[in-house]
Symmetry: C2
Subunit: 466 residues, 2 copies
């Protein structure tokens, strides 16, 4: 019997044998797109089409029922109309399929008849120990094993590369948007799950599973409503001792809550309660998509900070001032540097450079000034816990090699560092180079400071709770 809770979810992510029930050769059909995903992505295991309409599909034998497949099935992907899902699930239960993703809609979200049907399907699954994700979802994407049930058109939904950010969302639309965005930004994903109506596996199970997943360094969640409140708090508290959890909880406002109700039929609940729950469990709550990816990127690439003292290095005074303002806004400290360090810096820099914090290397900066500032004031100085390195790469004497200097100091220092590359096309290119070297980059001092805030806040949480 498959264990309850977060255990036993492995078959969803690392199946060896997969059946696509409702596979089709008609372009545009969900069962066609999903089968093609598995073929195109070069899925490492075996994949079997199931559909009584065909004998042959994708140049391979097509089965009329999952029961006929001459192998044990780890994962069944179910893409058939709602009314026949019960029969399909009976077959899965008899076959002792370990896990099933029901992507079909037409259940709880459509009203009471759909809800009855959903309960029936869930009961059948339970009787056969089949764990279920869905219905009414776009399922699972795992770039490690190439499991990919997300059936949005390929040109509209690019797949992000392998990485260490796990994404969870009830909503398929949200998942599609954020995956496409992550792909565009080059952010690496460990696992993504759109879990829909939660007839069996729910958000809590998924967080429990991902907390122990070695490919995942940060869990990012979009949530509208949560049931099982006590369990939720217990699981989250446990998860955040292992890795950071970043969450968007929509429906903060009065009208927003009404909108949630008409969207998913679930009660958004009092926002005060959610705020308390997140605070109590160390979950970092964010307000929008951009912030979610900004913080996830920071956690994926950098260690948490062990204290709140931030060093700022810049080659533009104005950007430095804005970073200081933002740090103070987030409750971080931008400490003055000690006299000895400043005297040392003064020996290396022209007199018009500022050796206070922010260190201002000014517009005629070259790579070496960044190297010296980073070595003396970050690597060799214990008065700061993290660094924001602002690179206004418009400076004429600054070259792309500065990114290797930043990377080297970051690696040696064992303390978190983020970059801020502001500007246009050239800056965006440099930002990509910085990130390729493991240092997250942001287009404004404000967003860079917010990332350091998150690394600091989580660091403090871990110190108290790990």
């Amino acid at each position: 019997l498959a264990p309850a809770g977060g255990e036993g979810l492995k078959s969803f992510f690392e199946p060896e044998v997969v059946a696509i029930i409702g596979a089709s050769n008609e372009p545009g059909k969900v069962g066609n797109t999903i089968f093609n995903n598995f073929l195109r992505a070069n899925f490492k295991g075996e994949v079997y089409p199931v559909n009584p309409k065909y004998n042959l599909l994708f140049e391979r034998k097509c089965y009329s029922s999952v029961k006929e497949i001459p192998k044990p099935i780890d994962l069944a992907v179910i893409a058939v109309p709602a009314p026949i899902v019960s029969q399909v699930m009976k077959d899965c239960a008899e076959k002792r399929v370990r896990a099933a993703i029901i992507v079909s809609g037409g259940f709880k979200e459509t009203g009471s008849e759909g809800a009855r049907l959903e309960k029936e399907v869930a009961a059948i699954a339970k009787s056969g120990s089949v764990r279920v994700i869905g219905p009414n979802c776009i399922g699972v994407y795992n770039p490690e094993t190439n499991v990919d049930t997300m059936f949005l058109p390929e040109e509209k939904l690019q797949r992000p590369p392998k990485g260490s950010i796990a994404l969870l969302s009830q909503s398929g639309a949200f998942m599609g948007t954020i995956l496409d965005w992550a792909a565009y930004e080059g952010l690496g994903i460990s696992k993504a799950v759109s879990y829909g109506n939660e007839c069996d596996v729910d958000l809590i199970d998924l967080i429990e599973f991902l907390a122990d997943d070695s490919h995942t360094r940060v869990i990012a969640v979009y949530v509208e409503g949560i049931e099982r409140g006590q369990k939720f708090i217990r699981v989250l508290k446990e998860a955040t001792t292992k890795k950071p959890v970043v969450a968007i909880k929509a429906g903060r406002s009065t009208r927003g809550k009404a909108a949630v109700l008409s969207h998913t039929g679930s009660l958004a609940g009092s926002d005060v309660l959610y705020r308390m729950a997140f605070k109590q469990t160390g979950v970092l709550r964010v307000d929008d998509f951009e912030e979610m990816l900004d913080l996830s990127k920071a956690f994926a690439l950098q260690p948490p900070a062990t204290g709140d003292h931030v060093l700022i290095i810049t080659d533009g005074g104005g950007a430095g001032v804005m970073a200081v303002d933002a740090c103070e806004h987030y409750g971080l400290t931008v400490p003055e540097l000690n006299a000895k360090l400043q005297a040392e810096l003064k020996q290396h820099f022209p007199p018009y450079c500022s050796t206070h914090n922010p260190i201002d290397l000014t517009g005629d900066v070259d790579n070496q000034r960044y190297r010296i500032a980073l070595e003396k004031a970050f690597l060799g100085y214990r008065g700061v816990d993290s660094a924001i390195v602002i690179l206004l790469v418009q400076a004429p004497s600054l070259t792309v090699e500065v990114v290797d200097i930043v990377r080297n100091i970051n690696c040696k220092s064992m303390r978190p560092m983020v970059a801020c590359c502001m500007g246009g096309e050239y800056s965006a290119k440099i930002a990509k180079e910085v990130e390729r070297r493991g240092v997250p980059s942001y287009p404004t001092p404000e967003r860079a400071a917010r990332a350091i805030w998150a690394l600091t806040k989580y660091g403090q949480w871990k110190l108290k709770n790990a």
Copy 2:
């Protein structure tokens, strides 16, 4: 005699005859880059090189002094070392040059000797009625006339196209960054000025001038410190009755103020006073670069809103909820739609679509559903003052033609509308198409709501003060 204040600045932006003093044929020299800017950008007037070292430069006669040029000079660009600027300015004064941009550094920003030199230069200019921008700046960019003194390397600083956003910044580094960013985003600029040490023309003069500039629809300002406080308030109050002013005032925080001091030598002053001044004058204060461009884009493309009631249309429930949350956060109202309108919408939409506000057209949306929603609930409905149109273009049946529907309704409605296109490469492409049709687009519901907030806030200000 040139008039004081904002009048008489025309020669900086629309000169017919320009002298580049310190022109050079050595690549990398400021006087070389600036002369090349004028050649490359196809400046419509005449441009003369001045440098006693050469007889011929850029295949034309090079003059040893501005006085020798056989024409009246509208604008002299001065790119010579600080110690000889006084002599050069004497020549300009004798020649009765109307306007001079001193890009050279080495003045007030370097200490007391530099400050003395700057005063001397300013006095000479005044004696000859030469209006001066600078020193210590990168000067003026006007894509209308192709005046372009910004001497940062071309590949690091792309030039934005013609448009209606005016940018003002003391700092050259800031100006370089924001122009490059604007170019990358395709935002059109009317005029950009990095005004440096303000030895004559200051921020107040420039705002006064731009308030009456017919090419400018919004003035965006980065400012660290302001002198002439009473005049500043009077000029701003007058300017905002004509067009919106968006400002970043850096140095909010205690440490930030110290950083301003070491950056420009000017006192940032009490932030409370600035906050009061901005409030009193209707200036919209923003926190970072991204917000500055977000709001400027909204004002450049859309009219202000006459009330705070926002319609939200979406094809993803979650994004709709987030937009509602954000609107309420900004003090906007997301009103319920009246029963008659909802009944009408219900006739056209499948039962699972929500006809409340936000209108949720759901994931199987097609272009026609957007058309109907926009026609009935925005164009034909007086209960809302502005609209946020969320386009999750991942939806399989939605095509690029939806952007023309959005544009048509926007044109006919005479009320402000912004779009929110979230996602990756495909969404970014659609966002560009939307913006090409005059509807500003943002990558998150949060930023779209903030733009509507700004349009609403300015609309309310104008109603009270125009």
